[in-house]
């Protein structure tokens, strides 16, 4: 019997349509796989096996009666930051202990409407703040390729679950690279949609002007399919955009002959892992061989992106996380008055990185510092957007590394937050500019760790980057390598 846990999202849909397996078969195969490997990987924070099997059986019944759609009964894992009615939503934090979501996030509503089965919740850096998944209150996730290495973050559980075949596909969220970087570290495909493409309703907010929900998958085609399911305007998120969602993924098979792909010199920097640079340059040559024209472009303000990001993101986080005050949900530590209750609750409930970022964000917004930090960062954000506007005048998409290194060892960067932040240099720019980005596996380092190629496209041109990614992927076999036997 074939192992259904190895299926892709599209492959599972095909199998269900052919009658070769039921949704309940797929869900049980995933639970068997989880039982076999999750002690090592630690990707899942929560499972309700009985409910998942009931949901799968309901999908099977619907399908048997001729109802449902193409993806009815396909199981998926969701990052523990997305609200699913009647499930916990820990956000990787102790402060949400005991919380049960009273409603579905819009992306969850849309998946359920399509018949997709939620098979479990996956681990993450606390409130999506981190690049290594070491900031979870529930312990670190491990990289399926080498379990003494990090899976990346903050959607580390999503990427590790997909890489270890504990999930057919997963949803993550990306504020500064939190989908693309773990996808790269784990050898998966990760898509950060353009800002406004996907409703954020029901995503616990980290930095509202940067956050987007997107898929982590085994193939580019799967990422396109999932984006097609979750994208679209939503009256519950006033920043979601009225953009055409029909036809997402329709360009996958068109090839890249004659396309102009930009290579920004600022994304090949001193100090980056030479293996990473070599694999990305190899991938660029593959694209050239497939008929693309490679052009040099410049994004001159790139070196300011990390500083800009950590001012804007922490400022927004300091406001967003004010809601965790021990009054309406989660844990409370009692105090004699509200101020001491808030202080004690937040002291006990938040981990170090969350505290650091809230304090930094509070500082850059505080009286006397607002202009020097926050306002200046917003202006530099404009310059970074302009860099991309200018670059996209001479190319259709941009090729870069996802991160300067491959996955590193657990504990290697935990004492030095600034060093960890600098690893986000190639991903934060897309969030600041609101554009879309895709991470596609492009080989391995000499230490056998995956490397990712980042493909950046103009806002709402997901079809362009999916087309480039798919064409590259189909010309290589990196995406077929599996992390664990």
């Amino acid at each position: 019997m074939t192992d259904h846990s190895r299926l892709t999202f599209e492959g599972a849909a095909d199998l269900l349509a052919s009658g070769g397996a039921t949704s309940a078969d797929l869900v049980r195969a995933l639970f068997n796989r989880i039982d076999a490997v999750d002690k090592t990987v630690c990707a899942y924070t929560w499972l309700d096996r009985e409910q998942a099997v009931r949901d799968a059986e309901a999908a099977d019944t619907l399908r048997a009666s001729g109802g449902g759609g193409r993806y009815t009964g396909v199981p998926i894992a969701v990052k523990d930051v997305l609200n699913v009615k009647d499930q916990p939503c820990t956000c990787g934090s102790r402060i949400l202990e005991g919380y049960t979501a009273p409603y579905d996030a819009t992306v969850i509503r849309r998946l359920k409407d399509a018949g997709v089965v939620i098979c479990g919740r996956v681990n993450m850096d606390e409130f999506a703040m981190g690049s290594s998944n070491e900031n979870s209150a529930f312990g670190p996730v491990r990289n399926p390729w080498q379990p003494d290495h990090v899976p990346g973050g903050s959607s580390g559980g999503s990427a590790a679950a997909v890489a270890a075949d504990e999930a057919i596909a997963a949803l993550g969220s990306d504020t500064g690279g939190s989908i693309r970087q773990p996808a790269s570290f784990c050898g998966c495909v990760g898509l950060k949609p353009s800002y406004g493409r996907v409703s954020r309703y029901g995503l616990t907010a980290y930095a509202s002007s940067l956050d987007q929900i997107g898929p982590i998958t085994k193939t580019v085609r799967d990422a396109a399919a999932l984006l097609g399911l979750i994208a679209g305007h939503d009256s519950a998120d006033s920043t979601s955009v009225q953009a055409e969602t029909a036809g997402i993924g329709d360009d996958l098979g068109k090839g890249i002959k004659g396309m102009k792909l930009g290579l920004p010199r600022e994304y090949f920097i001193d100090g980056m892992d030479p293996d990473v640079e070599a694999r990305v340059r190899d991938a660029v040559e593959v694209c050239r061989g497939l008929g693309a024209e490679i052009v040099d472009v410049s994004l001159p303000r790139t070196k300011y992106a990390v500083g800009t990001y950590y001012i804007i993101a922490t400022a927004e986080a300091s406001a967003n996380l004010a809601r965790f005050d021990g009054v309406r949900y989660g844990a409370r530590v009692e105090g004699d008055d509200p101020i001491s209750m808030y202080g004690a609750t937040r002291a006990a409930g938040f981990g170090s990185e969350v505290k650091r970022r809230i304090i930094l964000g509070t500082y850059v917004l505080s009286s006397g510092y607002y202009d020097a930090y926050y306002l200046r960062a917003q202006k530099v954000r404009t310059l970074i957007r302009e860099d991309f506007d200018h670059a996209f005048q001479s190319c259709d998409a941009i090729l870069t590394p996802v991160a300067p290194t491959a996955a590193y060892r657990l504990g290697e960067n935990t004492d030095d937050p600034l060093k960890m932040y600098l690893g986000d240099i190639f991903t934060v720019t897309a969030n600041l500019a609101g554009i879309c980005g895709l991470s596609v596996p492009c080989g391995f380092t000499s230490a056998h760790l995956p490397v990712g190629l980042q493909i950046l496209g103009p806002a709402f041109r997901e079809n362009t980057i999916l087309r480039v990614g798919h064409t590259y992927e189909q010309a290589t076999d990196w995406h077929t390598r599996r992390a664990m036997p």
Binding site: G307, R328, P338, G343, R346, L360, T382, P417, L418
Partner: protein, 90 residues
Amino acid sequence: MDVEYIAHLARIRLTDEEKERFAGQLGQILAYVEELGELDVEGVEPTAHAVPVHNVFREDVARPGLDRDTVLGNAPATRSDQFLVPRIIE
């Protein structure tokens, strides 16, 4: 940065060890972001949102909200269908 004062504004009580550790780490981060000062931003409009955002209106019609008992079920303390907090006024 006066970490203790900022932490008070953020309503996070810190231990002495945290104050010391965060002061060093945040000092490093602030020193790093100083490089934004190199750029001339005279006349540059700030970006609050990458996609232009305008007011979004809907008809002023009442719609059902979340179920009250479900919402209160998540609260650490409630009384008489309301959230219960420590005494504010003596």
